[in-house]
């Protein structure tokens, strides 16, 4: 492999940025959509503060359907929708659409799991103090489950980095596209290796930041059992 540093410097910073942009924006939208769904799934479940079996069933079905699509198929199936929404099915902005659609149900499930870990007795105490539903969600559920939610979001970002590389294979931009165009089609092993290293560093970096954030909250709350 002959190192082509000029090409690498010309391509990679921009495409790294594209990957970060795609992942950041789609994480933002996935949380924006997934968080309320996760909250509603939690509180409408049996025995929770706003039990509502039919609403729970409807949302659960949607989330399950969303999660059962393999990302590669979802991406292709969503092309008409993506075109309608952003005018094109190519490039980084277009990739954000399937990435968001894939991650939102995942986020909803993670949020639901985190919120259900909050002890029912604490909710009872909040209820008896006169809290309304919104206060229980914002001041109790989300606060108590914050470390667990942050772990979930970290996991979502890591998954989205993987998905974004897949989006790159079909013209979605970012490091995935570099890997397929230069590394695979043009047999440029050097570019391929550097791209893989960048992806590894990106995932490790995100995971590290996530872990630090979760641990610092747990430490503050005195809930870190071992260090």
């Amino acid at each position: 492999m002959s190192p082509n540093i000029d090409l690498a410097l010309q391509l990679l910073p921009l495409q790294l940025w594209n990957t970060i942009y795609m992942v950041a924006v789609s994480t933002f939208f996935a949380v924006l959509i997934g968080l309320p769904i996760g909250v509603i799934l939690t509180i409408t479940d049996k025995g929770h503060i706003k039990e509502n079996a039919s609403l729970y069933k409807v949302l659960e079905t949607i989330v399950n359907i969303g999660r059962s699509f393999p990302f590669a198929i979802l991406m292709v199936a969503l092309i008409p929708f993506t075109r309608w929404l952003v005018g094109t099915s190519l490039g980084t902005t277009a990739s954000i659409v399937p990435l968001t659609v894939a991650a939102a149900p995942f986020v909803a499930r993670l949020i639901e799991t985190s919120l259900k870990e909050v002890d029912h007795h604490i909710l009872e105490a909040a209820i008896v103090m006169g809290s309304n539903t919104w206060q229980i969600i914002s001041k109790v559920l989300l606060q108590e489950a914050l470390p667990s939610i942050l772990s979930g979001i970290t996991l979502t970002i890591v998954n989205l980095i993987g998905y974004s590389a897949m989006a790159g294979l079909v013209g979605g931009g970012g490091l995935g596209q570099v890997a397929i165009q230069y590394g695979y089609n043009r047999f440029n092993t050097f570019i391929m290796v550097v791209t893989v290293i960048l992806l590894i560093l990106l995932v490790q970096g995100v995971q590290w930041i996530g872990n630090v954030a979760v641990k610092s909250i747990l430490r503050k709350r005195g809930k870190l059992i071992y260090e």
Binding site: D119, I122, V128, Q143, R221
Partner: protein, 350 residues
């Protein structure tokens, strides 16, 4: 300020004929059956029962957390069992509740936990801070203001629970097995704190427990609950001195001294093992020596102890009487005449 607030005969909470039925998978459970009680202002009212007796359901009905299947729960003469939404939340601001496992928010400091109900009630920030400092002083935790609950001991957590429950100046404090997770010494401290709160602030206290010591230590009245029914109710001094129901007797014996097995001998008309309970004036008469003289029986005192209750002291003696059958019958009649509560003990009874 130091004036002690006495119970006021006006009922603050009245429950009339409440029942609670749970149906799950075709199985019907009667958690409460036709329960009627009245709790007066500034009283300390205890409800004692074993687990599964229905005491948790009862206190949750009183606090408006569970709606009874039938019957009525009144707070200051207005029915709270059918309140909804904002009206129910407004009622809840007038009550406080503490729990067996404290149920503090792990995401907030001690001060943050106490601030929570103040935020809910819409109290201004400066007022919140002032009230938090007052409450921390009251429960003796000023030094732990900015600490998170996980580093507190059980007793300290319950003090935070009490401060939080009192934040909005409630009229009633409900205690759901508040000392069951604490060691005996901490239990005493928490009970003393509750008593102080009752006396100083005039807060009515309703507590549920399975521990007779708790009732003895702070309660004025007690209700004994079993299988969803109130089987006995009255002043603690009365119930303690003259328990009527077997469950009540069981609780009282459980909290007192155990009678050694070897005291029990095969039943005979010439020998009886008795438990005598003295309270008030009965305690000042030399009853034992009187029956010995009058009925020519021998009295062998095997065991004796004194229980200090809120308003009175109850003395208990375990006595073995030997003599003629008539003599013993006469002695028992005399004790009844002198209103000394007495029971003939048989093996396996206690």
């Amino acid at each position: 300020m130091n004036e002690e607030k006495q119970p006021d005969p006006t009922p603050i909470i009245e429950i009339s004929a409440i029942s609670k039925i749970y149906k799950q998978a075709g199985i019907v459970t009667h958690a409460l059956r036709d329960v009627t009680l009245a709790i007066v202002k500034r009283d300390i009212y205890g409800i004692i029962g074993l687990s599964g007796a229905g005491k948790s359901t009862l206190i949750r009905c009183l606090a408006g957390l569970i709606k009874p299947s039938s019957g009525k729960v009144s707070f200051h003469n207005s029915d709270i069992s059918h309140l909804k939404g904002g009206n129910l939340r407004n009622f809840r601001l007038k009550i406080g509740m503490i729990f067996q496992h404290f149920n503090l928010l792990s995401s907030r400091t001690v001060a943050g936990n106490i601030t929570y109900p103040l935020e809910i009630a819409g109290v201004s920030k400066p007022e919140q801070n002032k009230r938090v400092d007052e409450l921390l002083g009251l429960v003796g935790l000023s030094s732990k203001k900015d600490v998170y609950p996980s580093s507190l001991s059980g007793g300290e957590k319950q003090r935070v629970g009490i401060a939080r429950a009192l934040a909005n100046h409630p009229e009633v404090l409900f205690c759901d097995e508040a000392t069951s997770a604490l060691d005996p010494r901490t239990t005493k401290e928490i009970l003393d704190l509750l008593k102080t709160i009752n006396k100083k602030l005039g807060v009515t206290i309703v507590l549920i427990t399975h521990d007779m010591e708790v009732i003895k230590r702070i309660c004025n009245r007690v209700a004994v609950i079993e299988a969803g029914k109130i089987v006995e109710e009255g002043l603690v001094s009365q119930v303690f001195a003259e328990p009527q129901h077997p469950t009540t007797k069981h609780f009282i014996q459980g909290s007192s001294h155990e009678i050694p097995e070897e005291f029990f001998k095969p039943p005979s008309p010439n020998r009886k093992l008795l438990r005598l309970r003295f309270k008030g004036t009965a305690a000042s008469e030399p009853l034992i020596s009187q029956i010995v003289k009058k009925y020519h029986v021998d009295a062998n005192i095997l065991l004796g102890w004194i229980d200090r209750l809120q308003t009175t002291t109850v003395g208990t003696l375990i006595v073995e009487l030997t003599g003629t059958a008539e003599g013993i019958a006469g002695a028992l009649g005399y004790l009844t005449e002198k209103t000394v509560h007495h029971e003939v003990l048989q093996q396996h009874e206690s």
